[in-house]
Subunit: 447 residues, 2 copies
C-alpha cells in the first residue's frame, strides 16, 4: 500500500486546503491529513496540500502541527484565490459565516461542522455555494461520526421519510443515562459529567437543548425538503428532569431520553373533506420511551438516529456523537468527497427545499403524556380530576394512585392528545383546590 507519485496522474497539481480553527477537531483533522497524506492522495486522485490553519493565538503549543502553517489572519486565508477547499471548524455564527461566504466568493468549496450556523442561516450558505458553483458539505454538523447527513441527502432521497428521531446530544444522554442507572439527581450528575469532560464548564447549549435543536433543524430540512431553522424548533432542555421522573418512567417500562423529533404530521381535513398538506413537527424535549425501543438502548455519550420512511421502513444509525477523532472522520470524509468532485469537475447536491412544508405550532402536535400530581386524599378527587381531562378532550389511558398521609400521588398517562389540549388541562388542574401540585408533565413517545 505504498502510494508513490507514479500512481498519481502525471503532474497532478495538489488540491489546496485551508483549515479555520485548530481546537480538538481541527488538530485531529490536520494531524490525520498529514499522517495519512498518501492515502488521501490515492483516494482523491491528487495530493492534498494544507496551505494554512487559522488560529486565535499563535503561541499556543500544538504538538504535531507545523507552526509554519499557522496564521491569525483567517480573512486573508479565505481570500486566497488558490485555495480549493476551506474547512470551517470555528463554530458559532460570526466570524464563521462571513469567512465561509468569502471563501465561496473566492472559489473554494466548504466543509463545515457548524450546526449553529447551518440551523440559523443554512439557506444563505446554500445560495452562496450555488452562485459560486462550489460545494457545501456538513456531515460533522449532526451526530459526529455517524453518517446521517449523506444518507438523508442522498441514500433516502428516492423515498418519503416520515420521521427522524434522534438522540443527537451526547452530554444530555450521558446525564440521563447515569440518572437512570444510578438513581442520582440532575445537579450531581451534571457535575460529574463536567469533571469527566462529558459536559462543558458552561453546559447551557447542551442541557437546555439548543445544540439538539440546531441539529433537529438540519435533519428536518434534509428529510422533508423544506427550510427549517433553529428558531422553528420547539425546545425544552433536561434541567427540570428529576430522579422522580426517571423512577416513574422505569415503573412503566420506559427510560427518559432527550429526543430530537422531526415528523411529517397527519394531513388535516380541509373544508371540502380533502386532505390538506402535511406539515412538519420539529421539537426537542425530554420524553419517556419504552425500554424495548431501539433508541432506549443508546447508552452514555453515544448518539443514534432512527429514521422511518415509506419504502425503507425503519432504519437506525448509531455511533459516537462527538469527540475529536469521530468528528474529524466526518470532516475528512466530506473533504475527500469535495476534493474528488473538484478533480472530476463535479458538484455535490445543493439545497432541496421544494416541498416548502410548514412547521406546525407546538400546540397542534399530538402525542401521549405522563403526569404526576400531588392531590388531597379525599373522596371524589379522582372523579374531579378525570372530569377536567374530559372537559378538554384528553382521554386517560391509565391512572395509578399512591396514598401518603392524607395526601396522594396520582400518576396519569393519557392517550394521544394535542399539546394545546394538554396544556389547557394542566392549567385547569392547577386551579383545582384538590390538586396540591402538578409535579411533572412529560411526553411519552415511541409507541
Amino acid at each position: 500500500m505504498n502510494v508513490t507519485d507514479a500512481d498519481l496522474p502525471a503532474g497532478a497539481a495538489p488540491l489546496r486546503v485551508a483549515v479555520l480553527g485548530c481546537g480538538v477537531v481541527g488538530t485531529e483533522v490536520v494531524t490525520l491529513l498529514t499522517d495519512q497524506a498518501d492515502d488521501f492522495a490515492a483516494r482523491v486522485g491528487r495530493p492534498i496540500e494544507l496551505v494554512g490553519v487559522a488560529v486565535r493565538r499563535l503561541n499556543k503549543v500544538r504538538p504535531g502541527i507545523d507552526t509554519g502553517l499557522l496564521t491569525v489572519d483567517a480573512d486573508a486565508l479565505v481570500r486566497r484565490d488558490d485555495v480549493d477547499v476551506v474547512v470551517e471548524l470555528i463554530g458559532g455564527i460570526e466570524p464563521a459565516r462571513t469567512l465561509i461566504l468569502t471563501a465561496m466568493e473566492h472559489g473554494a468549496s466548504v466543509v463545515t461542522a457548524n450546526k449553529a450556523l447551518l440551523a440559523e442561516d443554512g439557506t444563505t450558505l446554500y445560495a452562496a455555494a450555488e452562485k459560486a458553483g462550489v460545494d457545501l458539505y456538513f456531515e460533522a454538523a449532526v451526530a459526529g461520526a455517524i453518517p446521517i447527513v449523506r444518507p438523508l441527502r442522498e441514500s433516502l432521497v428516492g423515498d418519503e421519510i416520515t420521521s427522524v428521531i434522534g438522540i443527537v446530544n451526547g452530554t444530555t444522554n450521558y446525564i440521563l443515562d447515569k440518572m437512570d442507572s444510578e438513581g442520582s439527581g440532575f445537579d450531581e450528575t451534571l457535575e460529574e459529567a463536567q469533571q469527566l469532560g462529558y459536559a462543558e464548564a458552561d453546559p447551557t447549549a447542551d442541557i437546555e437543548g439548543f445544540d439538539a435543536a440546531a441539529k433537529a433543524a438540519i435533519l428536518s430540512s434534509l428529510a422533508f425538503h423544506s427550510r427549517v431553522s433553529g428558531a422553528d424548533v420547539y425546545r425544552e432542555g433536561i434541567t427540570d428532569v428529576t430522579s422522580g421522573d426517571i423512577a416513574s418512567a422505569a415503573e412503566m417500562g420506559c427510560v427518559v431520553k432527550l429526543l430530537a423529533i422531526c415528523a411529517l404530521t397527519e394531513p388535516a381535513e380541509l373544508a371540502d373533506g380533502s386532505p390538506g398538506e402535511r406539515a412538519v413537527s420539529v421539537r426537542v424535549h425530554p420524553a419517556m420511551i419504552p425500554r424495548s425501543h431501539p433508541l432506549a438502548t443508546v447508552r452514555g455519550p453515544y448518539n443514534a438516529v432512527f429514521v422511518e420512511s415509506r419504502a425503507a421502513g425503519r432504519l437506525m444509525f448509531t455511533g459516537p456523537g462527538a469527540g475529536g477523532p469521530p468528528t474529524a472522520s466526518a470532516v475528512l470524509g466530506d473533504l475527500v468527497t469535495v476534493c474528488r468532485n473538484r478533480v472530476r469537475g463535479a458538484a455535490g447536491p445543493g439545497e432541496s427545499s421544494y416541498a416548502q412544508r410548514k412547521v406546525s405550532p407546538i400546540g397542534e402536535v399530538v402525542t401521549r403524556y405522563h403526569l404526576s400530581l400531588d392531590v388531597a386524599d379525599v373522596a371524589g378527587v379522582l372523579a374531579t380530576i378525570a372530569g377536567v381531562f374530559s372537559d378538554y378532550g384528553v382521554s386517560i389511558q391509565t391512572v395509578r394512585q399512591q396514598g401518603r398521609d392524607g395526601d396522594a400521588r396520582l400518576v396519569i398517562v393519557t392517550h394521544r392528545a394535542t399539546d394545546a389540549a394538554l396544556s389547557a388541562t394542566v392549567e385547569a388542574l392547577h386551579r383545582l383546590d384538590v390538586v396540591n401540585e402538578v409535579t411533572s408533565v412529560m411526553r411519552v413517545e415511541g409507541e
Copy 2:
C-alpha cells in the same frame, strides 16, 4: 407541496430511465416512480420519464404497471442512445452483465442491486463506467435499504476502516433467531421460514452463505480500497448449526449469528523486524457472539452492519435487509443521485482499489473457538486432550466437562489461535482413541 412545471427550469427535458426486470423490487420501483413523479422531478431538477421495462413474459398480470412500457427485448432497450439511466434488477451474472455493459457503451449510467455480479466481476463494470464516463451505483446490493455502500464509499473515505462485520442475510438471521428463541432444529425452522416467505424454495444461496459472501466481497472492496471477489471469501453456511450449538452458545452468554467479517489483519513482522503490509481477512461463517454485542440484538429478518474505524470508532447501521419496498428505496436513492449527476454534469465515485491489499488465506485468520467433544469418561482424558491443544500451540481458555454414563462431553473455548492451528488440533483430536466425536467447532467473535 404541489410541484408544477413552473417550478422546474424552463424546457427541462426529462431524464429517460429504463428498468430491466419487473419482479418484486422492479414492480415497486416502477410504481413509486409513477406515483411520486412530482417529487422525483423536484428532487432531480428535471422530470424522470420511464421509457421501458424489460420483462421475461408480457402476459403476466402486473397491477399498476403501464403495459405499454413492457418489452421482452432487454437488449434493444439498453441499445437505445436516448436512455440516461438503466436500472438493472434481473440479478445473476448473465444476461445482466452484458446488458449493463451495453447500456454503458450507449451512454447510460447504471443503478443495480446485483450483488452476485458485483462480487464476481465488479472491476469490469467499474472499468466500463469509467471508460464511458457514466455512473455505477449499487446501494441496494448490500443490506437492502440500509445505507452502507454510500457511507463506506463516501462518508468514511477520510478514515481508516479496520473492520466491517455484518448480518447481511435476512433468511439465515431469521432461522438462527428462531432456533435461539424457540429451541427448534435447523430443518424444521427452515421449512417454517419457507412457508412464511422468509426463505426461498431453493434456499441454497442463503443458507450456504453464498449471498452473504457476495456482500462481504463488496463491503471489503469498498472498506479497504482493494479488489475482493466472491471467490476470495472463505464461506461456511448454517446447515450444520444444531440446536445443541445454540444451547452451548446460550450457556456462555452468546448467540449464534451468520456473520460476514471483513477485517484488516495485524501486520506480520518482516525479516528485518519492520511491520509488513496489512492484509484483509474476509469470511462468512456462523459464529458465537456475546449477547451484549450490538449485533446480537438484531432480530428476525433484519440486517445490520457494524463498522470500526480508526477515527470514527464504532458505528452501527440497522434496518430491513430485503423485501420489495426497502430494496426499492435504495434503488431510487441511487436513481435520484445518478439523475442529479446528469443534470449537473457531475459524476459519482469510481473504483478505489489503490491499496491492493492481499486477502489472507483462512489458515492465517486468528480468532477464538468453541469446541464440543464426546469423549470416553476415563481417567486422564482431559490431560490427553489438553496435551493435543498444547502441541499445536492452541491455548485453552475454559473447559467444561459433563459426565454421562461412561462417556462425557467436553466443551472447550480457546484463546485466539490461527485457523490452521485449530484445524490441525481438530484433526489430531479425531485420531485420539478417547475422543468419540468432535461434535462441533464454532468460532467465537465480537469480544
